[in-house]
Subunit: 186 residues, 2 copies
């Protein structure tokens, strides 16, 4: 049995896992500022039930509920193409649990491909400190063909594309998009 | 001076003006169900301050505020192209008031064009019972070149494209998109 990594490392990784969304948002801001791509996170849908108008300018929502999104977390445009992706981070060491991917996300990403867009998942294994970009049709095919509740980490080493991390942007995921979806041009 | 239309008509038009967003959402559902296009309204961004967990399953938001969106109302993919648009309805008889268009919407739609996407406005003059699709670069150029606070209704008759209304879909705006942006193919 392998020894566990030092506790310091574990904390570090788990912190990075929780921050995945923030890192992608920062990367998107960088990509937008440099006019490289126009990609945004969609707001979380909220069903507003009651609003108080305390002052003329500031409406205060006093009762609301989270709703299940119909689509994925992120979309936009890059190099003239429609881009659409979902982001997941897991602390699981050996597997990506399939309960993290919802049916409506699979259906939506299938439609993205059907309409000629680029769809993928960004999946972080925070234990390993690795973040993969995985082509949506490839992962969806795997999900549909497995009878397990999870996909092994090793599958991602083989079929995923490791995203380089840096300072600006934090997660250089569009480099991977270039390599996978714009092969002929680069 | 022209006589005012009957009150019944006015009510009818004003009701239709308020329902513009609903009609577009219904059209988008129709377009999605028939696999014609994949276009969604983005959720209104809400800043959540406080959440009560009354039960394990239902989180109740008890304090939240509306935030200004950074982008436009709608985006998606149609015929392989990125689509992005903003929707406005006015009860004004003679003019489209420019205060209805925000700076961030103009900047965003300029970037959409720059990245090779299709950007437009859907503008309803509910008094006239007419809904126009206007190419974003065309309207933005007009906004930047005018020193008035509004653009005359006549300008839209000349530069806008009247959207046909029907039963399914209610607003056949993709027909106009075909005519403007996919001329060579149709």
């Amino acid at each position: 049995m392998k020894p566990y990594p030092k506790e310091k490392n574990l904390d570090n990784h788990s912190k990075r896992g929780a921050d995945l969304e923030k890192e992608i948002n920062l990367s998107n801001t960088y990509y937008r500022d440099l006019d490289i791509a126009l990609i945004y996170k969609k707001p979380t849908p909220v069903q507003v039930v009651r609003v108080d108008y305390e002052s003329r300018n500031k409406a205060k929502i006093t009762e609301a509920y989270y709703r299940t999104p119909s689509t994925t977390d992120y979309n936009g445009i890059y190099r003239g193409k429609y881009i659409d992706f979902e982001v997941k981070d897991t602390k699981n060491k050996t597997n990506f649990p399939l309960q993290m991917v919802h049916d409506h996300q699979i259906k939506h990403l299938e439609k993205v491909e059907q309409h000629g867009g680029i769809g993928f998942f960004i999946i972080r294994f925070s234990y390993h400190g690795q973040t993969f970009l995985v082509d949506a049709p490839t992962l969806i095919q795997k999900i549909k063909s497995t009878n397990k509740y999870a996909i092994p980490y090793e599958w991602f080493l083989e079929h995923g594309n490791l995203i380089q991390e840096g300072l600006y942007p934090r997660l250089q995921y569009l480099k991977v998009v270039d390599a996978i979806y714009f092969k002929e041009d680069s």
